[in-house]
């Protein structure tokens, strides 16, 4: 069966998930198509633009998804379950390769933010690069909630499930992350304006 998933839908259909539970490879591919870019983007920004690390993390997430989907009982939203795997995979990989953390330099981050396209708006790319640099400076526990909030419109409850912590912790981390980010962005943006 050839599954078509509307990427604007936040949740894939229960039918696709049920087919995945029964090993339907086409259904898995449909799931992959629906989520791959968001999973990859979160991983990429989490790993400060390290494309190899993001690819590895994305591959691991979908491997876990395929081999573990039988354990998904539908008690929570599928996306929450998926993002919990993203969070765990990113944090585990970061622990295993702590050397990636010091790579949060603006020059490196700017490279992923500026696609090599003649049509790219250079000003926009410059802002994006600064946002990514500010994001990369956040500690991982603050960076992930900010990324989840930005890329997926999750509620506090869903974020708490994905991050495996309490609602209060989510609120606290998100508040702190946003505050730090705002301070850094204000400086960066101010510097850009002042030039």
């Amino acid at each position: 069966m050839d599954w078509q998933v509307n990427q604007s839908d936040r949740e894939v259909s229960a039918e696709i998930i049920e087919c995945c539970r029964h090993g339907d490879r086409a259904a898995f591919h449909a799931l992959y198509q629906a989520y791959k870019d968001k999973v990859y983007s979160i991983s990429l920004y989490f790993f400060h633009g390290d494309a190899a690390a993001a690819s590895d993390a994305t591959q691991q997430v979908f491997l876990k998804l395929i081999t573990g989907i039988a354990g998904f009982r539908g008690d929570s939203e599928f996306s929450t379950w998926l993002y919990r795997m993203v969070v765990n995979t990113c944090l585990d990989s970061a622990k295993a390769e702590r050397r990636r953390e010091p790579l949060a330099d603006a020059a490196r981050v700017a490279r992923i933010a500026a696609p090599a396209s003649a049509e790219t708006d250079l000003a926009r790319a410059e802002v994006a690069g600064k946002v990514q640099a500010a994001l990369s400076s956040l500690p991982p526990k603050l960076r992930l909630p900010v990324l989840l909030r930005y890329f997926e419109d999750l509620s506090y409850g869903e974020m708490a499930e994905a991050l495996n912590c309490s609602l209060g912790t989510v609120a606290s981390r998100l508040h702190k992350g946003h505050k730090l980010l705002a301070e850094k962005l204000a400086k960066l943006r101010g510097a850009a304006i002042g030039r």
């Binding site: 029964h22 090993g23 339907d24 490879r25 898995f28 591919h29 992959y32 791959k36 870019d37 968001k38 999973v39 990859y40 983007s41 990429l44 920004y45 494309a51 690819s55 994305t58 591959q59 979908f62 491997l63 395929i66 081999t67 573990g68 989907i69 039988a70 354990g71 992923i112 933010a113 926009r124 802002v127 994006a128 946002v131 990514q132 994001l135 900010v146 909030r149 930005y150 890329f151 419109d153 999750l154 509620s155 506090y156 409850g157 974020m159 708490a160 609602l167 989510v170 609120a171 998100l174 992350g177 946003h178 980010l181 705002a182 962005l185």
Partner: protein, 314 residues
């Protein structure tokens, strides 16, 4: 709060673009699945638990079956309801090292001594398996009576009693004791050595030997010796019978009773030793290589040689 959406934060929409995942990732996922042998139809997680549980069960069973077991001997019920440890013995069972076998007034049991013999345990007995090794088979008879039949090289089977230790020298015998250690050994085939605190009585087939707590093994005597000899010997061994008892023993001795006299040589004072020696020579001439002087000096080799010559008449 649970269903509330958090505030959007300082990053404006579009400032962090969604980056397209490289196409190679899906191929890598499929390749990893293939390499790991993970089927796309991955099944339910229950089988993983089932497999893990089965492995654990097998491991536990293997450990249980292969764990070091305390050595044990087979026990067969002969009469009544003997018990091993705290359990009544069915028709057969096993007695492990450290366990007691107990019989009441109407029960009997037979213990296999590894593969070298058997011990029948008579009524009102209490016996414990203390060592079960290829080179040492040992029981402790606290009270009661046993009949042992052993077919093995000497000094492989031992029975400890409160007063002495019976060392099998290739034999069949009966042994009884009470809880104080007073008892009797009767040898029916071969030889048994009764030992305690450096004192040894060598008991051949047809002979008996009493034991008493504190005194150890008495002097062996043939069961067909005169009552007077037996009584006098008991008085000498355990009742400070002294010279008078020895006089009766010497007077009542036959050629065969040189067994008793030979043992007395090393258990009397030098003056009595001369009298015992003279009586032995009256009954059996000294063989070549055995001299009066060396016997009276209790020369070990001389006594040994003389015993070997005398044993032809025992």
């Amino acid at each position: 709060m649970k269903h509330e959406k958090p505030p959007s934060g300082p990053i404006e929409p579009g400032e962090l673009p969604v980056v397209k995942a490289p196409d190679a990732i899906w191929d890598s996922v499929l390749a990893s699945l293939h390499a790991e042998g993970a089927p796309a139809r991955s099944g339910f997680r229950w089988w993983q638990f089932a497999a893990a549980f089965s492995l654990l069960t097998v491991a536990v069973l293997l450990w249980y079956s292969m764990r070091p077991q305390p050595p044990s001997w087979e026990v067969v019920r002969l009469d009544g309801s003997p018990s091993v440890g705290s359990k009544r013995l069915a028709e057969t069972g096993r007695i492990a090292v450290g366990e007691w076998l107990q019989t009441d007034a109407s029960s009997r049991a037979r213990i296999g001594i590894g593969d070298i013999g058997t011990v029948e345990v008579e009524p009102n007995s209490r016996i414990r398996l203390t060592v079960a090794k290829p080179n040492e088979h040992r029981l402790a008879l606290a009270r009661g009576e046993i009949s042992a039949v052993v077919s093995a090289p000497p000094r492989l089977f031992f029975v400890d009693t409160p007063a002495s230790t019976a060392v099998d020298l290739g034999c069949a015998y009966k042994m009884k004791t009470d809880e104080s250690g007073s008892g009797l050994l009767r040898v029916t085939v071969g030889w048994v050595a009764l030992e305690s605190k450096g004192r040894e009585s060598l008991v051949p087939a047809g002979a008996n030997c009493r034991t008493k707590s504190g005194a150890g093994p008495g002097t062996p005597y043939f069961s067909d010796a005169s009552d007077a000899l037996q009584e006098a010997l008991a008085a000498f061994d355990f009742e400070n019978g002294g010279s008078e008892s020895l006089r009766v023993v010497r007077a009542e001795s036959r050629v065969r009773d040189t067994l008793t006299l030979w043992h007395l040589l090393s258990r009397v004072d030098p003056e009595e030793r001369v009298r015992v020696f003279d009586r032995m020579v009256e009954l059996m001439p000294l063989p070549d290589g055995v001299s009066r002087e060396k016997v009276l000096d209790l020369d070990k080799d001389t006594l040994q040689r003389w015993r070997q010559e005398l044993a032809w008449k025992w």
